[in-house]
Subunit: 435 residues, 2 copies
């Protein structure tokens, strides 16, 4: 289909949703993608651009002039427009902004660019439907028709006072069912959820999910509630997905946000640091074992069990930390530290006892000395208890200090537990067997 | 506040949002919670019940009669109502349904109960605003006022033909801006996204996220598009959250959906199976090392490096599988298997080379034989390559066979890579050093 018929291709594309076209473009090479983009009108291409993979969007934008980008930007909602500009190199940002013809749009985008992307201000759009409390229902409906042209979906109508301060909301449904001569002041609902512009994006997501909101107004501050914008649920879906992806990757030992299709170099930068951490942990356990070298003569099997002990310590630690990290994220970690400690110890005792019995059974089958397999079982239980405690309390401590506890999952916990575990294993074995 | 003043407590509670009251109740004991619930009216309590923690809701429902539950159910939307009934023991389900007074509501709930909870039918609600193409705008507005009473939020108005088949949609905005004598048939938008009732819930979530939809209509089948219900974005947010939590827990070696505050017994059942898997893996490596026992005389340090090798194999495997599992979930794993294989090998060579150089440096510092540290570096590199390949291809193969690839992350990959890694390590060391 590619290099043949302009008209045919265009009619074909017109039938597709922009998200589908974006998916097709992601598969094409740059030259082909540019060809398709130039063919379509800017209303469609601006939506397509937003749906493209970030790397591909960057490449396409490089091939467009500042003026062309500005034309795309004019078609976008202010939040998407600001996001797209923020991705450009700094010197191009100014050039593109200067090319935006609509002055209001330009001012709004410039305002949004000032906010950090992980606060409410970075998520909000300026497009919203706003009415003054002094208006009548009839006047309101008339004006809403004007405002709504710029707003793709009307979620809620926000009611403000003369100082532009948010004082309540109005549902379209209420507006339709009200009599046309009524004043807005008489029919609006004064209880309205809102967030301030510097609220953390994750916190906004939590609030919207908790109260089942589809849009939330953003105000300047809790004291001075000047209405600045609104955040819609589709942006929150993206925040939740990114957050989940990030935690998942950290648990797997991948920093930075990478995807399967990123370059080898990007993937290496995200993965190698954690592997080096693991390497140092492994070298640490080489030291520990060397210091117990004398046990090699009488109890060489101890050394055969070290990978088992390390694996147990690692697995238990990751389980404990994952549960705590999720609990912290959902605000459901309650109760005192002491009761949590007792619970982890109890849990580890049960798990440890079952696993210990399996080790002793294995010892029987393999005809090991009972005394020796008992030693392994006991040290393994101790390792499991300590690993569970480390896995539980490291994230809690990090969280209390304001550090994202998710970084303590995965390789971090595994590595520290490997070293601790192997040390403890030999230490206890020495106590019991006395070598 | 608790056992003192009914009236005061009630006025206090009236100021709270139901989600906040639910949070407070989750903290109270059952007796206190029941006291508060009986105090409030059923409109509020039904919402509170839906927000309660699942375990607590179960306890509260046990303490209510079938008639009382039926009263709560009548206040809920059909989707929430069906979810709540589905949680009850089977014999109570019938009793509660029989007590629902509103016949339509009862029929709708019974219909929804028939669907599996992880398909579109299990997510949809019967509440929606539906208009026939033959209506006029004026007649439509009149009737919508009636229908909208039952619907908390009007997202879209669905247009159906005489056979109740979905033929398009109408936005409230368009309706307001249209002239009152126009026919719906003239103003509706015929392109409408929909899902069929048996579509997988995750698939529905993907579609809604991709096309930025806030609600999607559900039809009987792709051929016979009878409109059955609609799914709203807030339910999808829950699906996405659950899905992310599940994948995260599987990567950490936790099966079943558990939380930090679940009982020790529940936590054990979720965690112990994976630990037992890890134990068998560890015992496997005991076997492997025993078979290379003769190396102990000349190269005992090899055994000191086994935890390092196991950790590397585990970490690399988890990284690779996590990236692939996320890629599969987001449908971005493209290209041929061969190119993916080459990429993983390239990536592992880079990572392996850097880590190998570090090991050789460590060897210098520790005054190890160059020949020996070189052996360790080379075997480690091989282990890293194989671990990356296993981590990448096991999820891909599972996915091709229709098995959730997420189960192959975490302990599963770690354990199999531990065994493979240690075996390969000794095998290659033997080839080079010749013991």
């Amino acid at each position: 289909i590619e290099t043949k018929n302009d008209k045919e291709l265009k009619t074909l594309m017109d039938d597709f949703h922009y998200a589908d076209i974006a998916e097709i473009l992601d598969e094409l090479n740059l030259e082909q993608a540019m060809y398709v983009i130039k063919l379509l009108d800017s209303e469609t291409t601006s939506d397509i651009l937003m749906e493209l993979d970030e790397d591909n969007r960057e490449k396409v934008l490089k091939n467009l002039s500042a003026k062309e980008i500005a034309e795309e930007i004019e078609e976008l909602d202010t939040d998407d427009a600001a996001d797209m500009i923020a991705e450009l190199p700094e010197e191009r940002q100014k050039a593109v902004i200067d090319q935006i013809e609509d002055e209001d749009h330009r001012a709004e985008i410039t305002e949004l660019l000032a906010y950090d992307e992980d606060v409410a201000g970075g998520l909000m759009a300026k497009e919203l439907v706003k009415v003054y409390e002094t208006w009548t229902v009839a006047g309101c409906l008339r004006r809403i028709r004007g405002q709504a042209k710029d707003v793709k979906r009307v979620h809620s109508i926000y009611v403000v006072d003369k100082q532009e301060r948010l004082i309540g909301r109005l549902s379209l449904k209420d507006l339709i069912t009200a009599k046309s001569e009524q004043k807005i002041a008489d029919i609006y609902i004064s209880s309205v959820d809102y967030v301030n512009v510097n609220e953390d994006a994750e916190e906004v997501a939590k609030i919207m999910a908790k109260y089942d909101l589809e849009a939330i107004p953003v105000v300047e501050s809790d004291e001075n509630k000047v209405l600045l914008g609104r955040i819609t649920i589709d942006d929150i879906v993206d925040v939740l997905k990114e957050e989940a992806d990030k935690d998942y990757q950290l648990a797997a030992g991948i920093s930075k946000d990478v995807e399967a299709d990123d370059s080898i170099w990007q993937l290496t930068r995200a993965r190698l640091p954690w592997l080096i951490l693991g390497l140092f942990g492994g070298l640490g356990s080489v030291f520990i074992m060397e210091s117990y070298e004398e046990a090699l003569n009488s109890y060489k099997e101890l050394f055969f069990f070290t990978p088992l002990i390390a694996a147990m310590a690692g697995n238990v630690g990751v389980q404990s930390s994952a549960i705590i990290v999720q609990g912290l994220a959902n605000d459901i970690v309650k109760g005192s530290l002491l009761s949590r400690l007792l619970k982890e110890v109890g849990l580890s005792l049960i798990n440890g006892a079952v696993l210990g019995i399996l080790v002793i059974l294995f010892g029987f089958v393999m005809d090991m000395q009972f005394n020796f397999s008992m030693t392994i079982a006991i040290s393994m239980m101790s390792v499991i208890i300590i690993a569970a405690l480390i896995g539980t309390f490291v994230p809690i401590i990090l969280d209390k200090r304001g550090i994202d506890p998710a970084i303590a999952t995965g390789p971090f916990i595994t590595t520290s537990n490997d070293i601790f575990g192997i040390f403890l294993f030999f230490y206890i074995a020495k106590l019991i067997l006395g070598f």
